[in-house]
């Protein structure tokens, strides 16, 4: 048995504790030092978090009744809606947004998003796994009562064998989850991200965000000695839109697949932590940061989208391609050229096809129950 101490508090510490205690039963002795202040207010989560809930055996019902979970279908940035799930469908192997442009943008892009259609009607139902159903293009995130959600995760963690750490516990590995502040070992991102975002309004199906103070950057090392920094303890890019929690979730998965207690595993953990934090940082910059001199990888992405609407996806991306398309457009970054492969069909035919797709989505949205 390896004794692991999780330091921090609230959602971050208990989510880590619950996942590690569940996956490491009989191998890891998980202790949580819940030092933080009790969390307040509500937080936003992305669709992918539901996968973690499934692995931890947390049902939608208990999330709703115990943690005040409410579904959300998208987020608003810069007055533009960014819906979850798929927007449109690729035609003939060419991404949807190319056809949408070739057809002369007959309506706003989100007209081809079932999440957007449902949200504008105040309707909701969970998506479907059946690829033939239009509902398979739908995905939803959550907003949660932070304190109640932390309690729920704590109950799961304790049930899986995690313990509340005694003072002066002797441990072999310490996992930091508490938000960090810039120190000597700090890579500063504040030139690109002067503020972060926090949840402003989640009363409807689309959440909105407001600026929040931020010292953006990441630590130079995720692993130093027997201390491992994950989530907010490792990187700060102010993504209260669910991005912070999403990156933490990725780090927890990485702890499970690559527990960094040996040198090569620690090196790989470092490499993956840095890459995914930087990809998440790039999306934060794209959504609310300063684009005058973006980091190299983001500059390449922007240049490719501006040139021909290509979405470059690197290793360790944390956001899907369609999220990038919406984010580019929301920042006014539009392609100079139409992809020639989207011009193989006459525009009127593409317009007809798009019109039919849109009607199917509208009808599907109309048929959903009121949220």
């Amino acid at each position: 048995m390896k004794r692991v101490l999780i330091s921090g508090g609230g959602v971050e510490a208990w989510m880590t504790g619950a996942a590690l205690a569940t996956a490491g039963r009989g191998v890891l002795e998980v202790q949580v030092a819940d030092q933080g202040r009790r969390p307040e207010g509500r937080i936003a989560a992305l669709p992918a978090l539901r996968g973690l809930h499934a692995r931890l055996g947390i049902s939608d019902e208990s999330l709703a009744s115990e943690a005040g979970a409410r579904p959300r279908l998208g987020a608003r940035y810069n007055d533009m809606l960014e819906p979850f799930g798929q927007t449109g469908a690729a035609l003939d192997g060419v991404a949807f947004h190319h056809h949408w442009r070739a057809a002369g943008k007959p309506a706003a892009l989100e007209a081809w998003s079932l999440a957007a259609q449902a949200a504008s009607r105040g309707r909701f139902t969970p998506g479907s796994a059946d690829p033939r159903s239009p509902l398979s293009t739908l995905d939803h995130g959550l907003t949660l009562d932070a304190a109640a959600y932390a309690d729920l995760l704590k109950a799961v963690a304790l049930k899986a064998g995690a313990e509340i750490a005694p003072t002066n516990a002797h441990v072999e590995v310490i996992i930091d989850t508490a938000a960090t502040s810039p120190g000597d070992d700090w890579i500063d991102w504040s030139a690109w991200l002067s503020t972060g975002r926090r949840l402003a309004d989640d009363t409807g199906l689309v959440s909105t965000f407001e600026p929040a103070p931020l010292s953006a950057g990441r630590r130079t090392h995720a692993v130093s000695g027997n201390r491992v920094a994950i989530g907010a303890a490792y990187a700060a890019f102010g993504a209260g839109d669910g991005g912070d929690l999403h990156l933490l979730q990725g780090a927890i998965a990485r702890l499970i697949s690559l527990f960094p207690d040996t040198p090569a595993a620690a090196a790989e953990f470092e490499r993956l932590s840095a890459a995914s934090a930087e990809r998440a940082r790039d999306m934060a910059i794209l959504r609310w940061g300063d684009l005058s001199a973006p980091p190299e990888e983001l500059a390449w992405k922007i240049a490719q989208f501006e040139s021909r609407g290509r979405v470059v996806m690197y290793d360790e991306e944390v956001w899907p391609e369609s999220a990038f398309v919406h984010a580019f457009l929301a920042r006014g970054i539009t392609p100079r050229r139409t992809d020639p492969l989207a011009l193989r069909q006459p525009p009127e035919r593409v317009r007809d096809l798009l019109e039919r797709m849109r009607r199917v989505l509208e009808q599907t949205a109309e048929a959903m129950p009121r949220a």
Partner: protein
Amino acid sequence: MTSVRKIVIIGGGTAGWMSAAGLAAVLKGLPVTIELVESAEIGTVGVGEATVPHIRDYNARLGLDEADFMRRTQATYKLGIEFRDWGRRGESYIHPFGAYGHTIGGVPFHQHWLRARAHAEAAGQSFDPIERYSLPIMASRAGKFAPPASDPRSLGSTYNYAYQFDAALYALYLRDYSEARGVTRTEGKIVAVDQRPEDGFVTAVTLEDGRRIEGELFVDCSGFRGLLIEQTLKAGYDDWTHWLPCDRAVAVPCASVEPPVPYTRATSDQCGWRWRIPLQHRVGNGYVYCSGYIEDDEAAHVLLSKLDGQAQAEPRVLRFVTGRRRKAWLKNVVAIGLSSGFLEPLESTSIHLIQVGISTLLELFPNSGCEAADQDEYNRVMVLEFERVRDFLILHYHANQRTDSAFWNDRRTAPIPESLAYKLALFRERGAVVAYKDGFFKEPSWLSVYLGQNVIPSGLDPLVEAVPTVDSARVMAELKAAVARAVQAMPSHEAFLRSLVGPRVPA
């Protein structure tokens, strides 16, 4: 900026006709014409007759009928590659097109197998090799084949397949396909290349008989020499022979003496390795070697002495320099095939790299200006593909345990790229495979070579101990039995092949 109206493909080998067919199929509906220039005087290099499963996507995009394609190209099915004598002499492993088992308790299957192996060794007991848990490997060993099942829950869906075919016949088949879709074929030897003075874009090529062929986009499939990309545009070449020093191959087809097996074989030899590719009508053979260690005549002699059946031609020697073109797309010239770089066919990647070149060109299909952004992105993608295949090939050489020849001793002790040393260190420490998105070879491929060549990690994933030994032993036993049953139920490769393509006809 205007759209591309005319594409000229230089060279009519496998790369040329695959490019012509791929472009003709996908660009249908656009006002663009395609002309392919080839010279009967300049022989084509058969870039290896074995493929990887992506070839099925390419064929599907063209809408080819599998039975027709297999009949026309003398194709057989391929479930993987057998590597003989790459670890210790006398050993054999198969690199399959499919995963080994499935996760147990969220922990990768091979971790459970490594634990069981360690326990058995400590107790002085025997243990099952990991191939027992792989359906495509066990089917290969039994000479059987059936297409994968479509139900993702079925064991029969856990593998994929490729083909072994006559690349010259495949090129002819695609030539028919292309010509039927409007591609013009022009025969002639290129004697001059015209460039636009202001920016060096290629504007036309001139043939020996004086004909001038103009184009806006040129696809250079002229082979090693890179007629446009190198001889005209001087794109440069990164030489990788310090890592992969084999620089020649001698090839010869021979008669079959047994029904074709559903896998390619790569056997290590004193100064390189030999391929064996069973087709319907014959067996393709070759010896890839390093000229610093063996003379051409001797290599040909070794190859001929180890054939299954009667040689059907004179052995042919090919020369190459392993590496990649610094810019595979430069100005309005895109190099596809050997003109874009060369990696020995140890893992059947030549045709795959052609295909990645074609599909990436289509994803970035330019207008007549060939914007720098398109070139840059194409080159970024191709560098990743080439480098990741390169590291995987070097692993085979580096992890050899042959001590009977200078060549193999040198390969084992030669420096390796840092990117490979990093991957090896992680595997040696705890059996974890470095993951990436772009690049063909993923976890099961790396595992097969590591384990097949006795790179056994000193530690394990610590979380494997969260699954009780008895639980993983039970799941492993069930899986092994299920694989054996599934193989039992499969038809022989020969029988399945004949049911699809019809009775054997003399070549």
